[in-house]
Symmetry: C2
Subunit: 147 residues, 2 copies
């Protein structure tokens, strides 16, 4: 389990979050529950769609990124997130794609009201096996301080 505190995370640092291959089965399973549009759940209908084949729900791409972020950076000092500043789905994610997550720390600001924590602003990206960025996001996260 990672154990990063606010003080450990510095603007300009880049974290590699790891790699994950998306299977058709898990893509359909996620979409059936949360985003059952034909181009996410039905391979035949997806062929006829504007996407030309099955693509992952953008919410799944975000969730995959989140899981990488948790596994790499979020430990006992993580205090949740107030939200996302901007998220763009730049290219489709297709079955068999291998996604690599990356995080850049944009800034780190101690809380003015809570001396025991601070907030980082991050750039999150997900890139596929061809080097195409499929998702890019700017968001924030709260972290506890060591002292």
């Amino acid at each position: 389990m990672p154990d990063l505190y606010f003080e450990d995370i510095r603007p300009g640092e880049v974290y590699e979050l790891g790699t994950r291959t998306v299977t058709e089965e898990e893509l359909i399973t996620f979409a059936r529950e949360w985003d059952p549009q034909p181009f996410h759940v039905d391979p035949e209908a997806a062929k006829e769609s504007v996407f030309g084949g099955l693509i992952a729900s953008g919410w799944q791409t975000g969730a995959i990124w989140m899981r990488m972020y948790v596994d790499t950076m979020l430990g006992s000092a993580a205090r949740g997130s107030p939200g996302i500043e901007e998220l763009r789905w730049l290219a489709p994610v297709r079955p068999g794609d291998t996604l690599t997550g990356r995080l850049t720390v944009l800034d780190a600001t101690p809380s003015s009201t809570r001396p025991d924590r601070g907030t980082i602003r991050i750039r999150g990206e997900m890139v596929n096996q061809e080097g195409v960025t499929v998702m890019a996001m700017t968001s924030r996260g709260h972290f506890g301080r060591r002292t």
Copy 2:
């Protein structure tokens, strides 16, 4: 299945997206897969956290909203989304909470390059049983045109 085309969706319109109660079991199931932080997956550890008890992953709150949006508005004319302009997690979602989704159409713009489609900009909100807004989001969606 809804069958809304670009022309059917007008700025200022408000769509009620329905209601869903979040169980502890589904909250933990989602978080174990996508966001396994202690305050999302472990009821005992969550009590000791800053949240004072188990809360849903924000990605699940977004996914619940997405499912409501699909069921209410997205049919054969839906053409995906370029992304989210802003998303805020405003209050925790806890086991047993009943969430109500709402969507307001902010604007609707025909594509300048593709005569067969247009893009809507929307405000999405999720409110709990006490009237507290737990999530608010501004995003975009592409829709096919009838003509």
